[in-house]
Subunit: 195 residues, 2 copies
DNA sequence: GTCTATAGACCGATAGAC
DNA sequence: GTCTATCGGTCTATAGAC
C-alpha cells in the first residue's frame, strides 16, 4: 500500500481547488448576486484563470448548485448538533434548534440572506427534495409532534425572518452578540416557548 | 391657454414611457435579479429597442434607482394611510400598519421580496437616509414610543418574514385572502399584540 | 420618441499545449 | 491543474437618421 497523498489523507485536503472555488463563489454571489457574478470574477478571486475553474466545474450552473448544496450541508450539520444537544430531553430540542440556527445566520450574515433570497437559486431549489426535507426536519424540531401544514408556514416565516433580519439595514449597526440575543428571544416568543 | 395635452392633463399620463420602463424592470429584477437583467430584456418586455430605453435613462444604474425609489414611494404611501386610519386612536396604529404592509406585500408578492433582498439594491440603499427614515417610522408605528434596539430587530424580522413568506414555495399555493389573514395573525404574534 | 447600426468590453464555454 | 488563445454571443452605451 502506498503511503503518499491519498484521498483519505487528512493532512492534505482531497479537493482544495473545488472548495476554494465554492468559497469564492459564495462570497461573490452574496455581493453581486448569482446573475451578477461571472466566472472571470470567481477565477480572479482565487488567482487562477477561467479555464482552471472550468476544469473543476463544467458549467456555471454546476457551481451554483455546489455553492447552494454546501450551504444546505451547513444547515443539516446544525440540525444534527441541535438534536445531539437535546438528546432525550424532548422539550429542549426546539430551543436548541433556534439557538443553533440563529448562530449560523449571525455568523454568516453577509452570505446567508442574499443566497437564500436569490431568484436564480430560489427557482433552482423551490422543489428540491433535500431542501424540503431539511425544512420538514426543522419544522418537527421546532413544533414537535404537532407539526402540520400550518406550522410549516410558520417555520418558513421564521427562517425568512432570521435570515432576512441579519442583513437588514435596521440592524446593520448591531454587534453579533447583541443581535444573537435579540433574535433568539424574539424567535422563542414567536414560537410560544419560554425564554 | 391651450387646451391640448399638457403635463397636468389627468386623461393622458405625463410620462408613460418612464413608468412602463420601471414596471417592466421591476418585474424582471424580481425574476432574474438586478445583475441578471439586461436593458435588452427590459426593452423587449415593453416592445421597444434598447436605444429607446436609453433615451429615458442614461444608465442601468439610473433605472435601478428609479425602480427602488418607486417601491419606497409605495411603502411611504402605505404608512401615510396607516396613520390616517388610526388617527387619534394610538393603540390602533400598529394594527393598521400591519394590515397595510401585509396588503402591500401580498398584492405585489412576486416583486417585493426579491427586490428587497437583491444585493445590488441592498448595497445601494443600506445607508440611504430616506429608506432608514421610512423603516424608523414603521418601527415607531408598530411599537409606539417604546421603540428601541430590540424592537428594531423585531421590526426587521417582521419585514423579512412577510416579504420572505409571500414568495416561499410552501406558501406559493395559498390564495391572497388566506395568505393575508395568516400573515396578519403571525405578524401580531411577532409584535406581542392581541389578535 | 423611436429606430438601425455599431463600438468595445465582457460573457460562458472549449481546444490544446505544458 | 493551469495556462494561452479563441469561438460566438451578449452586454452597456453611443451616434445619427427619421
Amino acid at each position: 500500500m502506498s503511503r503518499g497523498r491519498t484521498l483519505a489523507d487528512p493532512a492534505t485536503p482531497p479537493r482544495p481547488a473545488q472548495s476554494r472555488i465554492i468559497d469564492a463563489a459564495l462570497e461573490l454571489f452574496a455581493e453581486h448576486g448569482v446573475g451578477g457574478t461571472s466566472l472571470q470574477m470567481i477565477a480572479e478571486e482565487i488567482g487562477v484563470t477561467k479555464a482552471a475553474v472550468y476544469h473543476q466545474y463544467r458549467t456555471k450552473a454546476e457551481i451554483v448548485r455546489a455553492v447552494a448544496d454546501a450551504e444546505l450541508d451547513r444547515l443539516e450539520s446544525v440540525l444534527d448538533e441541535a438534536e445531539a444537544d437535546a438528546a432525550g430531553r424532548a422539550g429542549d430540542a426546539a430551543a436548541a434548534a433556534v439557538a443553533r440556527v440563529v448562530d449560523l445566520a449571525v455568523e454568516r450574515r453577509r452570505q446567508v440572506s442574499t443566497l437564500l433570497n436569490d431568484p436564480v437559486i430560489g427557482r433552482l431549489y423551490a422543489r428540491d427534495a433535500r431542501l424540503l426535507g431539511v425544512l420538514d426536519r426543522l419544522d418537527r424540531l421546532l413544533v414537535g409532534p404537532g407539526a402540520g401544514p400550518e406550522s410549516k408556514v410558520a417555520t418558513a416565516m421564521l427562517v425568512a425572518a432570521i435570515s432576512g433580519a441579519v442583513m437588514h439595514p435596521l440592524v446593520a449597526g448591531q454587534d453579533d452578540d447583541t443581535l444573537r440575543t435579540y433574535l433568539v428571544r424574539i424567535a422563542l416568543r414567536f414560537l410560544d416557548l419560554p425564554a
